[in-house]
């Protein structure tokens, strides 16, 4: 018998070979033991430009290209290391201070070890991705050194050694090797390789082993602008282990362990969902879980247990005797916790007396009404699966800053009040409190420990003075995560070299003409808002000999310029959409394409993607075809100009006739759509008029809708539907479509109840048709706006439409509820929406114009794209609205206006008023009505709030009131806004005097 076993020593390769064993647990809770091979080698370069030896052994890729060396031969020096230095951060340094490494003033020539990279990836994927981004940026000079694969720097874990100790040792070994390796270069100015860590034990060991090491804090304070950078180091790590926590200090209940939560969710005891905070009451949250049709309520700081809006949390349903009604009270964090001290946290109860009182009335009421069964199930958060923390924009709460700090450089804790009211106050420690006052600043949350009432964060950067246009715009963009940086060079390199001189080739033999139809003879025009530069679409119509009409929608052929998977495509897919602010447009594609080469400008030839229908006089589609084309638009109209031209009977030219045909057909199409049950929904839309030179807002107008608006809209809808059909037929798995789910019935419960009680009207929501009809019936002969108000409120009960990949849903789920269409997609605005660009590529493949690119065919990839653009789309809308709200506030600056408003929502201590003229919505609290705050009785059943005492009046839902809107800067919050002031209630009440901010930003 021969034995298979061989001793390792006998194998010559064994010195270069090791294996790695580790244990991991799967999602289902199983423990797996994984064994991996590790091949150790000596040809991993140090990547320093000083080193010539490594250059000889540097590896090449399959085509023989050797990656350039990264680390500078003349790295920057500091006081401590005058010869220059390379930094080697450990994992904690990166975890705590990634913002620092992204600074442009310091932190160059950094060596990232594989050990650190792996650890960081395990701890935080977002940080890992940011770090990978850094290593790709050429000017930061970050180099990833694979120390675990280099023979000299590989360390084996010793017996009894914890994995963390082993990793620390690996880092020290690598630093040691780097120093001795560089010493062999015989360079005159030898840079030191310095380990950067926050771990005291690690530093001590490094000293003992003679490895250059420094603490992050010490290193940063040695830098030139150290003080500013110091604030960016994560606060909570500071105190470190030194602080022993006594049980009494712990304010919040402990979170469950992940496995306990998973088991609980699996067996149905616990529920997982996304935590949402009520915009009117920071102590009330709700969570939608699959097990219940209605959202669960989460009331009070205790039950919310450190969850922040947007987190994925696990909740436990509370026993029935603790079920409550949703709050009818406005509770604002600013007001309740105004005087809390940011520094002192000790000995306080979790729920302060004030908060308790604020919630008290709720409890009282519950006891009366709970018998009637209106109470909703409540729940408490038992753990957080995934934090959804991002960077938050806000301002420092002035009252939390001590007087001394305004001059001195003492470090102190201050509160940051986020712009988003759903986010709790964040405590940050800073040395520059005085300077930060009155500034918009950006912070991140680092942690929220059990012993801290508020989350702890750190300062990232200042955006500028509050209220300046630049700061507020940037704040808005950051808050809605809009990518607003200029396009990088790699993206601009993808543009056609001819730049603005690019023309459609004159010779039809040019490859650009391949597969294109010559539609230049057609009389085509575009209709857009005034001043529109990125013209996506153009139209034409002409009679056919058989009495039918040929109608064409021509869309900018963006996919000709943006090829899949290049840098520009990648950037566009991340941006997802163009964002329109009042005074600014953040483009999805570079200007050259968006406003020139792709834009279907008049009088020039342009590439287009055309949809051509034959439509009979009753607007039935006889047939449809799609083709890439070359067109020449005859005119670019604004909606108003087009309307005038159509109405002007003296104009009888072909172009005007065409437009009249289009208008006639669009009216019929619209009627058909309405008959099918399409909803006409509403949201308050206003337009800010700007002074042309200073672009200061001067007035606010509500948007007017002309027939021509609906003309364009109808044909765009028609094109989208036709394209959706076509790409779904060709690619049933991967077609990119847009759906709008039917809203669950419960969404309308409140609104229909309100309508029934207040007006005796019935809202039916069995189908979109029934809803459309019952919405039509919701009118008030005396008040034309009432119908719009109900539509606005109904819109808020709807689901939001979303992009999806055809394979992920069953066909009946494709339905677009609002448009009452079986299938829908976005095709008509490829300049400003990425989804349209994908649809273009798919359609091009469907008509065999070009082969399908793999990126457009991979379902996984498309799903990721859909997910991203859904978020971007929503954010773009919100950012646009916030921008309008800000400018409305600016337009009202220094003015007092009495305006009509409507009561939309009513609380026991205030109510929400919508002012249609400005499209703004605002809370009026009782204490705004009169001084002192009037007493009130609230009839929740009938939605009536009666006040007495200092002011007697009665406010009810849907009531028309006159509010005074005036502009006032609230010193305490630093927010600009208006104040709702006195006015006449039209129906019966006397004067309302209210003070409130409107158009808060």
């Amino acid at each position: 018998m021969t034995s298979l076993k061989r001793s390792l020593e006998s194998d010559p390769a064994s010195a270069n070979f090791s294996s790695k064993t580790y244990v991991r647990s799967t999602k289902s809770g199983k423990v797996q033991k994984i064994v991996r091979e590790v091949y150790l080698r000596q040809d991993i370069p140090c990547s320093s430009k000083l080193c010539s030896r490594c250059r000889n052994t540097a590896p090449a890729n399959a085509v023989g290209v050797v990656s350039p060396f990264v680390l500078s031969d003349k790295p920057a020096g500091t006081k401590e290391y005058p010869q220059g230095h390379y930094l080697v951060p450990d994992t904690n340094a990166l975890l705590n201070a990634m913002d620092l490494f992204e600074q442009s003033t310091a932190f160059y020539d950094v060596i990232i070890l594989q050990t650190v990279l792996e650890e960081l990836r395990n701890r935080s994927l977002p940080l890992y991705n940011r770090l990978i981004g850094l290593t790709k940026s050429e000017d930061k000079r970050f180099y990833v050194f694979f120390n675990e694969f280099r023979l000299e720097t590989y360390v084996t874990r010793e017996e009894g050694e914890s994995i963390n100790d082993r990793n620390d040792r690996a880092v020290r070994r690598a630093v040691q090797w780097y120093n001795s390796h560089l010493a062999q270069t015989k360079s005159k100015k030898l840079p030191t390789v310095v380990m950067l860590t926050d771990d005291r034990g690690n530093i001590e060991k490094a000293k003992a082993e003679n490895v250059p090491a420094t603490r992050l804090r010490e290193y940063v304070s040695g830098l030139e602008n150290g003080e500013r950078l110091l604030d960016m180091i994560v606060e909570s790590q500071e105190k470190g282990i030194s602080r022993d926590k006594k049980a009494a200090d712990l304010l919040y209940p402990e979170h469950f362990s992940l496995s306990k939560m998973m088991t609980g969710v699996k067996n149905g005891m616990l529920h997982q969902g996304i935590f949402n905070v009520s915009p009117y009451n920071y102590l009330e949250g709700s969570i939608k879980v699959p097990a219940f049709p209605k959202a669960l309520l989460i009331l009070g700081r205790d039950n919310i247990n450190r969850a922040v809006d947007g987190d994925v949390v696990v909740v436990e349903v509370l026993p029935k005797d603790q079920w409550k009604e949703p709050s009818t009270k406005i509770i604002e964090e600013e007001a309740v916790t105004k005087n809390e001290n940011a520094d002192g946290d000790e000995g306080e109860d979790l729920v302060t007396e004030k908060e308790r009182r604020a919630l008290q009335e709720e409890v009282k009421k519950t006891h009366i009404t709970s018998t009637e069964g209106r109470a909703q199930p409540t729940a408490k958060v038992v753990g957080v699966i995934k934090r959804n923390w991002r960077q938050y924009v806000g301002h420092v709460d002035q009252s939390s800053v001590s007087q001394s700090a305004k001059q001195g450089r003492k470090q102190e804790s201050v509160f940051l009040v986020p712009m988003d009211k759903k986010i709790p106050k964040i405590r940050i420690r800073t040395r520059q409190a005085g300077e930060l006052l009155g500034k918009r600043i950006l912070v991140t949350i680092d942690s929220w420990d059990r012993d801290s009432r508020h989350p702890i964060g750190h300062f990232v950067r200042s955006l500028g003075e509050l209220e300046t246009k630049a700061a507020e715009t940037e704040a808005l963009l950051l808050e809605y995560d809009v990518q607003y940086r200029p396009f990088p060079k790699t993206v601009l390199d993808c543009l056609p070299k001819e730049g603005h001189d690019w023309r459609v080739p004159t010779s039809t033999d040019d490859p650009g003409w391949k597969g294109r139809e010559d539609l230049r003879p057609l009389i085509i025009c575009s209709i857009d808002p005034v001043g529109c530069q990125d013209i996506d679409d153009a139209l034409h119509a002409r009679p056919l000999p058989n009495g039918n009409y040929e109608v064409g929608v021509h869309i900018a052929d963006v996919s000709h310029f943006v090829k899949p998977s290049n840098a520009m495509d990648h950037e566009a897919s991340i941006r997802g959409t163009t964002v329109y602010l009042v005074d600014k447009r953040i483009d999805m594609l570079p200007m050259l394409l968006g406003t020139d080469l792709c834009s279907l400008k008049p009088y020039v030839e342009r590439y287009a993607f055309s949809t051509l229908w034959e439509i009979d006089a009753d607007a039935n589609i006889v047939n449809v075809r799609f083709t890439k084309s070359v067109i020449k638009s005859r005119e670019a109209f604004s909606y108003e100009q087009a309307q005038l031209r159509i109405d002007d009977a003296s104009q009888q030219d072909e172009l005007t006739q065409g437009m009249r045909t289009l208008l006639m057909l669009s009216k019929k199409l619209k009627q058909k759509r309405m008959d099918a049950g399409a909803l006409s929904l509403s949201s308050p839309e206003v337009k800010v008029q700007m002074e042309s030179e200073t672009s200061d807002p001067i007035d606010v107008k509500t948007k007017e809708l002309l027939d021509t608006n609906s003309l364009v809209e109808e044909f765009m809808l028609l094109a989208n539907i036709s394209v959706a059909d076509k790409i779904y037929q060709s690619f049933p798995q991967t077609a990119i479509l847009r759906r709008h789910g039917a809203p669950p019935k419960t969404n309308f419960d409140e609104l229909s109840n309100q309508l029934k009680i207040k007006r005796g009207l019935e809202l039916r929501c069995d189908s979109s048709r029934a809803l459309a009809d019952s919405l039509d019936a919701c009118t008030d002969p005396k008040e034309p706006f009432f119908n719009t108000l109900i539509r606005i409120m109904a819109t808020r009960c709807m689901m939001s439409a979303e992009y999806f990949c055809a394979g992920t849903q069953a066909y009946p789920e494709f339905r677009h509820y609002g448009l009452a269409s079986e299938i829908y997609t976005h095709f008509t605005s490829p300049i400003r929406r990425y989804a349209d660009l994908v649809a273009h590529r798919q359609l091009a493949a469907a008509i065999d114009y070009e082969p399908m690119h793999p990126a457009v065919r991979s379902r996984g990839k498309l799903e990721a794209v859909c997910k991203n653009i859904n978020v971007r789309h929503r954010n773009a809308q919100l950012a646009g609205r916030a921008s309008i709200a800000y400018y409305v506030g600016q337009a009202l600056k220094g003015r007092v206006a009495d305006e009509e408003g409507f009561v939309m929502k009513i609380f026991s201590n205030g109510f929400v008023v919508l002012v249609p003229r400005f499209g703004i919505e605002s809370v009026i609290r009782l204490r705004d009505l009169a001084e002192p705050e009037p007493d009130s009785t609230f009839d929740a059943e009938n939605y009536v709030l009666k006040t007495s005492g200092s002011r007697d009046l009665s406010v009810e839902l849907f009531q028309k009131v006159i509010v005074r809107i005036s502009d006032a800067k609230d010193e305490a919050t630093g927010k600009r806004g208006g104040q709702d002031g006195a006015g006449q209630g039209v129906f019966k009440n006397g004067r309302i005097h209210a003070l409130d901010r409107v158009g808060t930003i």
């Binding site: 018998m1 790695k20 064994v35 991996r36 091979e37 590896p59 050194f145 690119h853 793999p854 990126a855």
Partner: protein, 273 residues
């Protein structure tokens, strides 16, 4: 958890520290089961295969019921019957496979028809069968390739005449199908993690020639990358062939030293190439 394959471009290093064109560590031994007609044990990285040959025997339909068979020499020679047993402990999760596992059967068929092309079966006659039992002891990627290589080695040990070694190797590409990265490098000899994350193919060639006997590719890959991957895999096959040849020669030398065969005989029978 270690990094994934996306970090390749950072330093041109794969998840286990290899370069793009490096094979894993290989170990092999012949005659590990002296009671069998031929046997071999092969390791490529952590994929470990034992192969036992019995026969050529008279055809026995009972024992070939779960095996895949292929006739050699156009039906004139012996039949090759391949059966694969994957040990329940071979994978990370302990898992027992049924006899009718479709993936296993497909591999059996591929190996049988591949070997049938290499084996000179006419010296045995059409009523005889060569049974090749492959036992997978541990699995870490490139399974099909390892099985083919182990079977080749065991056939040499059994003294079955072949035109050349049938050798196989896998090749992949550093970027997934959807990423559509133009500058993707081809990769040689993938391990499990790489197989799970990247597109790959298995290529079997006749010895060191570029004659492709079998190619299996189950993942989506851009056509433009295919040529590079095939060339890389063919290079890998050469490396495997050299390695196997070395093992056979070492074994021969050992047999001479031990006096199992005379020196004169060695030269004629070992000078196959």
């Amino acid at each position: 958890m270690p990094l994934d394959t996306s970090t390749y471009n950072l330093a041109l290093l794969r998840v286990d520290g290899r370069r793009w064109n490096e094979l894993r560590q290989q170990k092999a031994q012949m005659g590990v089961q002296p009671s069998a007609d031929g046997s071999a044990y092969l390791e490529m990285g952590n994929t470990k295969i034992q192969c036992i040959i019995s026969g050529p025997n008279e055809r026995d339909t009972k024992s070939t019921s779960s095996a895949s068979t292929a006739p050699t020499s156009g039906g004139q020679g012996a039949t090759v019957a391949v059966s694969i047993m994957i040990a329940p402990f071979a994978t990370v999760d302990r898992k027992r496979r049924g006899r009718n596992d479709k993936r296993v059967q497909e591999m059996q068929t591929t190996i049988a028809s591949g070997l049938a092309a290499a084996v000179q079966g006419q010296s045995y006659g059409p009523r005889s069968t060569i049974h090749i039992s492959l036992n997978v002891l541990s699995q870490d990627g490139s399974l099909l390739a390892c099985l083919i290589n182990a079977a080749s080695l065991a056939l040499v040990d059994a003294g079955v005449p072949m035109t050349d070694y049938l050798v196989a190797c896998t090749a992949g590409s550093t970027s997934s199908y959807a990423a559509a990265d133009e500058e993707a490098d081809p990769l040689l000899d993938l391990n499990t993690q790489e197989e799970q994350e990247l597109p790959f193919l298995t290529l079997a060639t006749m010895g060191a020639t570029d004659k492709v006997v079998a190619m299996v590719c189950e993942s989506r890959v851009q056509l433009t990358r295919l040529e590079g991957m095939m060339a890389t895999a063919a290079d890998g096959c050469k490396g495997v062939r050299d390695f196997l040849d070395g093992v056979v020669r070492d074994k021969g030398e050992l047999m001479v030293q031990e006096g199992a065969i005379g020196r004169g005989e060695v030269v004629s029978s070992m000078d196959l190439d």
